[in-house]
C-alpha cells in the first residue's frame, strides 16, 4: 500500500517520503556519495512516468547501491550478490504485469553478476536496469572492480589498476539491450527523463549513472567529491546516438553522456509466446 504524501509544508515532509521506508533512515550512504541522488531521481521518474506503483517492484543485489530496494516503500527484493537480474527475470516472467526495476551497483551487476546482465539483454527481458557506477567496490572497502579505470588506486591495486575496465553501454548494446543511456548524478534532469522513458517503454533498458565514491575511490585517487562533480561538469560531452565503442570512461579525453540506443525488438515474453504458445 502506498501512503499519500503529506504536503503540509510546516511538517517538513519530503515529497518522496511516501516512497521511502522512513523507519530505515538514516541510510548507509556516505557524505558526498551519489547513490542517494540517483535513487531520488529514480523515485521521481517512477512517479512522473505514471506507472502503477502498486504493480512495481524493485530488485537490488549486494553493495551500497543494493541497499536501494530495502529503502523503497514498495514491493522490493534484496537478493544475493550478483543475482538481481535473474530474480527480476523470474518476477517478470512469473507476473508479466509487473514493472520491474533493477537498481544495483557496478560491482554487483558487472563483476559477480556480469553473466546475467548479458543474457537479460540478449533475451530482451522487459525491465529497467539502473546501474550506479562509482568505479569501485565501495561498501566493502574500496577494492578493484570490473569498472575501475586503468591506473586507479584501490586497496587491491595499490600501484594502480593494470586491467582495462568495461565499457558498459557498449556491452549493453552488443548484448541486445533496446534502450541504453548514460548520465552522471550531476545531470539529474536528463537522468530522470531517461529513467521515465525507460520505465514506460518495453524491452531491456539500461541506464548507467556515474556517481562519486569519495570514501573509497576519491580518497585513494586524490579526488574530493566536489572535484568529481567538476569532472562531471567539465569533462563530459553530451552526444546522443554516439558510437557505443567510444563510450569508455576516461575523464582525460572526456566522457560521453546521452541516449545511445533506442530500438525496438520483440521482448522475451513476446518471443516465447510466438514460438512456444502459437499452437
Amino acid at each position: 500500500m502506498v501512503a499519500k504524501a503529506d504536503s503540509t509544508p510546516s511538517e517538513q515532509v519530503h515529497p518522496l517520503d511516501h516512497l521511502i521506508r522512513t523507519d530505515r533512515i538514516p541510510h548507509i550512504w556516505c557524505t558526498g556519495c551519489g547513490i542517494g541522488t540517483v535513487f531520488s531521481s529514480c523515485l521521481k521518474a517512477m512517479i512522473s512516468s505514471g506507472i502503477d506503483l502498486e504493480k512495481t517492484c524493485m530488485v537490488s543485489g549486494i553493495g551500497c547501491t543494493g541497499r536501494g530496494a530495502g529503502y523503497l516503500n514498495l514491493d522490493s527484493f534484496h537478493t544475493t550478490h550478483g543475482r538481481a537480474i535473474p530474480f527480476a527475470t523470474g518476477l517478470k516472467l512469473g507476473n508479466p504485469n509487473l514493472n520491474v526495476i533493477v537498481f544495483s551497483g557496478d560491482g554487483d551487476l558487472f563483476a559477480i553478476g556480469g553473466n546475467h546482465f548479458i543474457h537479460g539483454a540478449r533475451r530482451n527481458i522487459d525491465m529497467t536496469v539502473i546501474c550506479v557506477n562509482n568505479l569501485i567496490y565501495g561498501m566493502t572497502g574500496g577494492q578493484v572492480a570490473a569498472t575501475t579505470p586503468v591506473n586507479a588506486k584501490t586497496t587491491t591495486t595499490q600501484s594502480g589498476n593494470p586491467d582495462a575496465p568495461f565499457n558498459l553501454p557498449l556491452m549493453a548494446w552488443a548484448s541486445g539491450a533496446t534502450y541504453v543511456a548514460r548520465w552522471t548524478m550531476l545531470h539529474i534532469r536528463e537522468l530522470t527523463a531517461c529513467i521515465e522513458k525507460a520505465l514506460t517503454r518495453s524491452g531491456f533498458s539500461f541506464i548507467e549513472v556515474l556517481a562519486p565514491c569519495p570514501t573509497n575511490y576519491g580518497r585513494r585517487n586524490r579526488e574530493k567529491s566536489l572535484e568529481t562533480l567538476r569532472l562531471y561538469r567539465d569533462k563530459t560531452i553530451i552526444k546522443n546516438n554516439a558510437d557505443p565503442s567510444e563510450l569508455d570512461v576516461d575523464f582525460q579525453k572526456g566522457v560521453i553522456l546521452g541516449e545511445f540506443v533506442d530500438r525496438e525488438r520483440p521482448t522475451c515474453i513476446e518471443n516465447y509466446d510466438r514460438t512456444c504458445r502459437a499452437f
Binding site: I112, Y137, M139, G141, Q158, S159
Partner: protein
C-alpha cells in the same frame, strides 16, 4: 622464536601466508571477505611477497583459479566466508577429488537468509562432506601456526588434499591478539618446497578433471576417502614437529580439566576459550565440569574423542549451526553417532546457540549447564536439542 607482537588476527594470518612463500593468491577481495587477502594484496604490491595476486570477479572464479594454479604445480592460497563459500561450493568439492593441495582459511560466518554477515558455523557445516581436511583454530596464534601446518600437511605426497582452516569470523578475524611469529629458518625447516605428485606440464601430459563413468566412479571416490582417513597420521606428525619447534603442541581433540569431570562441554572454534573460563568458575562452585574441544573436524578423530569423554556421565554439545529437521546441530548428530555402541553411554544434551554473532557470555554457558542438568534425567526424542536464548519459544 620470532617476535611476539599484537596484531589483528587477519593480518597475522596474511603474514603467515607470506612466510609460507605462496606463489599465488586468488581471491574475490570483497565481502564476505576479511583483511587477510587485503593485506596479502599489500604484501604483494610492496614487494614483500613474490607472488601473483589475482583479484577475480567471484568466489567461484577464485577457487577455479586456485585449482588451475595448483594443477600447474604452484603453491596457492585463498580465503572466503559464508555466501562466498556457498558460491564457491562447486569447485570446493572438485579440488578435493582432484587432489589439489590448496590451503584456504574460512572466516566462519552465517549463511543467508536472513542476510547476515556475523559469526557462526552454518557455512562450515554446509561443506562438511566436501572431502577437505578441516581444522579449527581457536585464537590468533593457532591461526598463524595452522597456515604453515596447512601447507605441510596438504602437500605431503601421501596426502595431496586441500585443507581448510576454520576461524571464527569477527570474534577472531577482526580482533587484535598477541601472536608469536616464526623465524624464517624455522619455516624453511618445517615447510619444504612444494613438490607436486602430478602437475600439468606439456612434457609429461596428464588429464585432470576427466569424466568418471559408473564403472570407475566409486573406485575414484574410495581412492579419495582413503588418503583423507590416512592423513591423520601425517596431521599428528606435523603437529608434533610444530610443537618441537614452537613449544605449542596441538592435538586432534583438545581437553581441559576433563579427566575427572562428570559433565563435559563439547565445543568447536573460539567458544572453547570462553567455555574454559566457565569450567573454572563452575569448578569453584563445586561442580564436576570439564571441556573437550574438537580441533580436527575432518578426518574426524574417533578414538581420541571417545577417549576424551570416556569417564563422563553427561555431554553438553554446543552447536552453532542447524540441521533443519534433523536430530539437533550437526556436531551433536555426529557425536551421537560416534558414541553409539560404546559401553559407557553418557547422556547427551545439545544446545544450538550464538547464531549470527549473538553474544554468548560466561553467564549464558552457565545457564546452559543448569538447563542441561535439568534435562539429563528425562530425555525424550523431542528434547534432543534446544535453541538457547531464543525469544518466542
Amino acid at each position: 622464536m620470532g617476535n611476539r607482537i599484537g596484531l589483528e588476527v587477519s593480518l597475522s594470518a596474511a603474514e603467515a601466508v607470506k612466510m609460507a612463500n605462496v606463489d599465488c593468491i586468488a581471491a574475490y577481495p570483497i565481502t564476505p571477505q576479511t583483511h587477510i587477502v587485503e593485506h596479502l594484496s599489500e604484501l604483494v604490491n610492496d614487494g614483500h611477497l613474490d607472488a601473483e595476486f589475482i583479484p577475480v570477479e567471484s568466489e567461484h572464479s577464485a577457487m577455479s583459479v586456485c585449482a588451475g594454479v595448483s594443477a600447474a604445480g604452484a603453491r596457492v592460497f585463498t580465503c572466503t566466508s559464508s555466501q562466498g563459500l556457498a558460491l564457491m561450493n562447486e569447485i570446493v568439492h572438485i579440488v578435493a577429488s582432484m587432489r589439489l593441495p590448496i590451503v584456504t582459511i574460512l572466516a566462519n560466518r552465517s549463511l543467508s537468509g536472513p542476510l547476515s554477515i556475523w559469526n557462526d558455523h552454518t557455512d562450515v557445516m554446509s561443506i562438511r562432506d566436501c572431502g577437505w581436511i578441516q581444522v579449527f583454530a581457536n585464537n590468533g596464534q593457532e591461526v598463524f601456526d595452522h597456515v604453515l601446518f596447512g601447507f605441510k600437511v596438504a602437500e605431503n605426497e601421501n596426502v595431496m588434499l586441500p585443507l581448510m582452516i576454520h576461524i571464527d569470523g569477527f570474534i577472531l578475524t577482526h580482533v587484535i591478539e598477541p601472536v608469536e611469529f616464526w623465524e624464517k629458518d624455522q619455516v624453511e625447516k618445517y615447510l619444504p618446497v612444494f613438490k607436486p605428485v602430478h602437475s600439468l606440464h606439456p612434457d609429461k601430459p596428464v588429464t585432470m578433471g576427466a569424466f568418471g563413468m559408473p564403472f570407475i566412479f566409486s573406485e575414484a571416490k574410495v581412492a579419495q576417502d582413503e588418503p583423507l582417513i590416512q592423513s591423520k597420521s601425517v596431521i599428528t606428525a606435523a603437529w608434533k614437529e610444530l610443537g618441537d619447534i614452537t613449544g605449542r603442541y596441538y592435538k586432534p581433540v583438545e581437553t581441559y580439566r576433563n579427566d575427572d569431570a562428570e559433565t563435559l562441554f563439547i565445543t568447536q572454534g573460539s567458544y572453547g576459550d570462553t567455555v574454559s573460563l566457565v569450567v573454572d568458575e563452575l569448578r569453584e562452585e563445586g561442580k564436576s565440569v570439564g571441556l573437550v574441544m574438537d580441533r580436527l573436524w575432518r578426518p574426524f578423530p574417533f578414538n581420541e574423542f571417545r577417549d576424551a569423554v570416556k569417564n563422563a556421565d553427561n555431554l553438553i554439545i554446543i552447536d552453532r549451526a542447524i540441521s533443519y529437521g534433523g536430530q539437533g546441530g550437526p556436531l551433536a548428530i555426529e557425536l551421537r553417532s560416534v558414541m553409539y555402541g560404546e559401553k559407557n553411554q553418557p547422556a547427551i544434551t545439545n544446545f544450538i546457540c550464538g547464531l549470527a554473532g549473538r553474544d554468548m557470555t560466561i553467564k549464558d554457558f552457565k545457564n546452559i549447564y543448569q538447563r542441561a542438568m535439568e534435562k539429563v534425567k528425562g530425555i525424550t526424542l523431542e528434547e534432543d536439542y534446544e535453541y538457547y536464548g531464543v525469544r518466542g519459544k
